[in-house]
Amino acid sequence: MAKQLQKEIRMKQISFPRYAEYNCCIKYGLEHAFHNVRYIMPPPLTRQTEELGERNSPDYVCTPFKTLLGSEIEALEAGADTVIMTHGACRLGYYGELQEQILHDLGYQCELINLSSYATGKRRDWLRLLKHVDPKLNLPKFIQVARDTLKMVEYVDDVTAEYYKNVGFDATDGEYRKAYRKFLASLNIADSRADIEADYRTVKREFQEIPLDKPDRPLRVGILGELYTVMDAYSNRNLEQKLADMGVEVHRWMTITNQVVHYSNVKNLEPKIKDLCTYSMGPTSTANIWFAKTCAEHHFDGLIHVKSANCTPEIDIMPVLQNISSTYKIPTLYLTYDTQTSDVGLLTRLEAFYDMIATRKKALS
């Protein structure tokens, strides 16, 4: 018992702020790859998280910075002593350094592991980081766990995509939603690759078995936009669920699997949008423009572009999206989210959009 307690004390209490449904994967990865890490799950995002972030952030930084900062503070309050911040293209690569400064100015004595400091393109720098976290690192085991974790991410994305395409047509009393929630909850306690596989098989089977009441050609909407807000259901105020509940088949390409894990595929999309742009306009721009164009070509009923306030690359592709919208005559709704965005306000706009595309569909068919 005392031994157990001592071990517990020596453990690093690491957290990573809330991000869509991926925190279970981060937890799995960290706790299995390192022998000395306990993952601290930050509390679910709330208005309070956003306010906490907002209060301590520069005024016109993009909203995910504020939300993530709020979530980091809540994780520290929940007992974390270390926070990880990712690197990335665009301003994301600078989040870590500024957040560390802000947290220290607030008086938190935490360590912030800023992946940007290690992202030099050299393997040796990543190794240095791994040894820093766990001096007794078992590299082969780490690689295995990394693979399992990526698989987990892929499953989350696959299941989430299927969920939002179908949940609007669930013929039962909420069985579809229950199956999805259960899948996510069970991933939170997954302890092995076998667990992950079993959870995946179960939810896929359940999805198969639940009767759907879906027309041959339902209303189809493509969702695209900025990496954080478009995936994080709290930040986008449950956009996808709201649409699905109106009876829409919701499609979103932008996921960690598609955009980050298989980034080389994204590069291959460039030739497909040559008529619209010559160069890569930004890290997520190519994929978003390609997806908008593809939905338009496949006669989707509408597009929704999601971004946080002040998001540079997403603002920059709007002229291209506007041209797609007018060339293909596809209605497009542009949503900008900040910490003040209200559920009710969003619902009103979505209902109006829904009415418009539904009427249009009737008139065209």
Binding site: P58, G93, L98, G121, T278, P283, D316, Q322
Partner: protein, 317 residues
Amino acid sequence: MKKTVLIERKTPVVGIPRALLYYRYAALWETYFRELGIKTVLSPPTSRQILEDGAAMAVDETCLSVKIFYGHVKALIGKCDFIFVPRIATFGLRREMCIRFSALYDQTRNVFRETHQRFLSYNLDANENIDQEKAFLNMGETLALGYSPAELKKAYAAAEKADQRAWREKLRAQEQILKSKGLKILLVGHPYILDDPYLGRPITDFLRSMDVLPLRADIVNRDTAIKRSLDVSPSCKWEVNRELLGGVEMLKKEVDGVILVSAFPCGPDAMTNDLVTRKVKDVPLLNLVMDTQTGSAGTETRLESFVDIIRLKKGVL
């Protein structure tokens, strides 16, 4: 040896928007085209009208600098064969431009699609193995006017030389001010804000009218500045912001006050200016954010009281 025959080339007229990176690369661009015998026209200096025209074309949330840029593009339409909009993305590891410059060429083409205006670009992306010289040679080829590689190389070499000469000129002017006696204030901002006749110039002029010597954080030895920026911000990756951060480090002991000037809502500045505010504690600091509504009266009042405070502190008021 074959004698070169004089070819009568029908060279196009290239329009250069007097905005954004023109203020960094004027000599480079103008010399390159001149060397190739290509005529250039420059849009008029920024005015209220240009700003409003640009803002009307732009997505509302775009930064002020790009809104102004569109105003300049609009002013050139119908006055030239091509409008020149380079795509300048990266110079190396942690040496990138604000992401907006990667998008600028395609964004502009899409914004002005209806006008059927043709655009000319060069693509500088060192992280994709296209350095500046290669970018210029590529552009020369896309012009398809039959320039030989040697001609293009020569034009680029001349352009680079002119660029360095112009840069040394700026450094010298700044040295002069540094040596002079008087109250000195360091202006920290992108050159296209500080040098813009509508945005930044009035600030410099007003400071001068108050007997203040304005210095510039961006006009310092760039290599030193890039190195010094690591002291304040090890992971900053924006080239111009690193120059500015380094410039502040290099000059903060020489000046009596620092003014951060940015365009609303500038992505990089929103973050690095916050960092400067948190880290640079030993000198008075003023943060000016310019947007489409900023009036000169309000700015002047803030400048005036800032200068008064500094003078009061120094006991000269």
